[in-house]
């Protein structure tokens, strides 16, 4: 059965912005309260059903990340309705929670806590992460001694360990060297296939084609187009 996972109705989001206030003042326009605000999302009405894999396209600043953050519960909409059925997991910045002075082992529980993974799952998850990150003895060293690729391996391994009801991803990149990139691709695919519903914002047509079936094009905080991913990628590339 196809149940609705996410529904928004005329959703708007405005940021308070001092920058725009100054800009308007300089150009001599009247400073009404509305103009002091920067409207990041404008009249978003959309329905996403269970099991849909939605790719989000658009130029920088089009509102892709802001939209995902609204769905993640970070920003409350300024007006309009937002309805979410199910648990949401966001994968925006994998490094959040990382302590560079702590060892690889010590960082796993920190990363878990940062993503809200219950401690009861630690034994299994640590085993999984250690095996996947494949860093050997380096796990006992502070991660400030790691290369950035090695650091990312741990963060990536924890971030992708748990599947979700609704998964939000912002530009998931391939991690590490060629060999590890293959492994990370397999792991990402597993995560995506185990997760119910996916929203992925990306500039990579290849990623979007691989992982998504439906596409949304954002422009200036509005949804410009909505349709099958191939058509959307084509349309987006033509307007570039």
């Amino acid at each position: 059965m196809m149940t609705t996972k996410i529904r928004t109705n005329r959703l708007n989001l405005s940021f308070p912005s001092q920058q725009t206030k100054r800009m308007f003042a300089a150009s001599g326009q009247a400073k009404s309260k509305a103009q002091k605000k920067f409207r990041a999302l404008n009249d978003i009405s959309i329905e996403i059903r269970n099991g849909e894999r939605v790719g989000i396209l658009g130029a920088n600043g089009a509102g892709k990340s802001t939209f995902l953050r609204v769905l993640a519960g970070v920003y409350a909409p300024t007006s309009g309705q937002l309805e979410i059925n199910g648990s949401v997991t966001s994968l925006f910045d994998m490094n959040v929670g990382l302590d560079k002075e702590a060892t690889g082992y010590e960082n796993i529980p920190l990363l878990m806590a940062a993503r809200g993974i219950p401690r009861s799952r630690a034994p299994k998850l640590i085993e999984d992460v250690v095996e996947f990150a494949d860093l050997g003895d380096a796990m006992d060293r502070p991660i400030r001694t790691y290369s950035s690729g090695m650091q990312l391996r741990i963060a990536f391994a924890v971030a992708t360990a748990r599947s979700a009801d609704i998964l939000l991803m912002d530009e998931l990149i391939g991690v590490g060297d060629k060999n590890f990139r293959m492994k990370s691709k397999v792991r990402t695919q597993r995560l995506l296939s185990e997760s119910g519903t996916l929203l992925l914002a990306s500039h990579s047509s290849a990623y979007l084609k691989t992982y998504c079936t439906r596409g949304l094009i954002f422009e200036n905080g509005r949804i410009l187009a909505d349709g099958p991913i191939d058509e959307m990628i084509e349309q987006h590339e033509n307007t570039k």
Partner: protein
């Protein structure tokens, strides 16, 4: 209001989060030192011993009792000033967490309070030798009253921490003001000096200084002083006002916190 109360409950429920990061806050600071977190204990012990030996004579306080008085007061002040000084940066420092998913705001205040309580626990060790050498051991009833006093202090700190965290996030200028106020408050609170002959102005300062009441309700029972109901009443009054203020402020601003980051 309901939003705020829910936030507080949800915040406490995320104890796995704030305990691990609260503890890591301390580990982080002392990770590469040999003595580790016992530097916290040592530096406070050093202060108490040096300042105590000096001021004992300066103030003409001959009895050994001054050392226990100073030690308890200073250890508690470390907790109060730690919370006040650091609460201004709670949200700005942990903004990256708040931009990932929806967190109860209370969780981040608890993170700070928890790490300050761990520091307090380290500092409490100093009291053992101090009581042994210079003082008389407090009675069980005294300890119980002191713990009750600390619980009120702790909950007030949580509320004040929340108020400062939110207001400083919105108005960043509060942080430097706060730091200098805390420094002044240390000298205006009976920690190194004792309330004897302060004169009219001194008495007035003491009466309006909220910190004095909290020191009284925690320190006095440990020193074997008689319980002064007036101190407890004022401390509880401050506590209630702060909690209500914090809840009202949180209810009004909760949805906007992420925008101010």
């Amino acid at each position: 209001m309901q939003i705020a109360v829910k936030d507080v409950f949800e915040g406490f429920k995320k104890y796995e989060f704030w305990t691990i990061f609260g503890a890591n806050e301390i580990k982080k600071k002392y990770r590469r030192s040999k003595l580790g977190q016992f530097w916290i204990t040592l530096s406070v012990a050093f202060f108490v011993l040096v300042v105590g030996s000096l001021y004992k004579n300066l103030f003409g306080i001959e009895d050994n009792f001054y050392m226990t008085y100073l030690a308890i007061g200073y250890v508690l002040w470390q907790f109060i000033s730690g919370v006040l000084n650091k609460s201004g940066t709670i949200f700005s420092k942990n903004g990256k967490f708040m931009l990932q998913r929806s967190w109860p705001a209370t969780t981040f205040v608890l993170w700070l309070i928890y790490s300050e309580i761990l520091i307090l626990a380290h500092n409490l060790l100093i009291l053992i030798p101090i009581f042994f050498f210079w003082g008389t051991w407090p009675s069980i009833v005294g300890v119980l009253f002191s713990i009750l006093g600390f619980l009120i202090t702790f909950m007030t700190a949580l509320a004040v921490g929340m108020i400062l965290a939110i207001t400083t996030l919105r108005y960043r200028d509060i942080q430097p003001i706060l730091k200098s106020l805390v420094r002044i408050a240390f000298f205006a609170t009976p920690i190194i000096w004792m309330e004897r002959d302060l004169g009219a102005v001194g008495d007035l300062i003491l009466a309006v200084n909220p910190f004095g009441y909290f020191l009284h309700i925690v320190r006095d029972p440990l020193l074997g002083f008689a319980i002064n109901p007036f101190d407890w009443l004022i401390a509880c009054g401050i506590f209630v006002v702060c909690v209500l203020g914090a809840l009202l402020l949180l209810a009004r601003t909760k949805h906007r916190l992420a925008y101010w980051l």
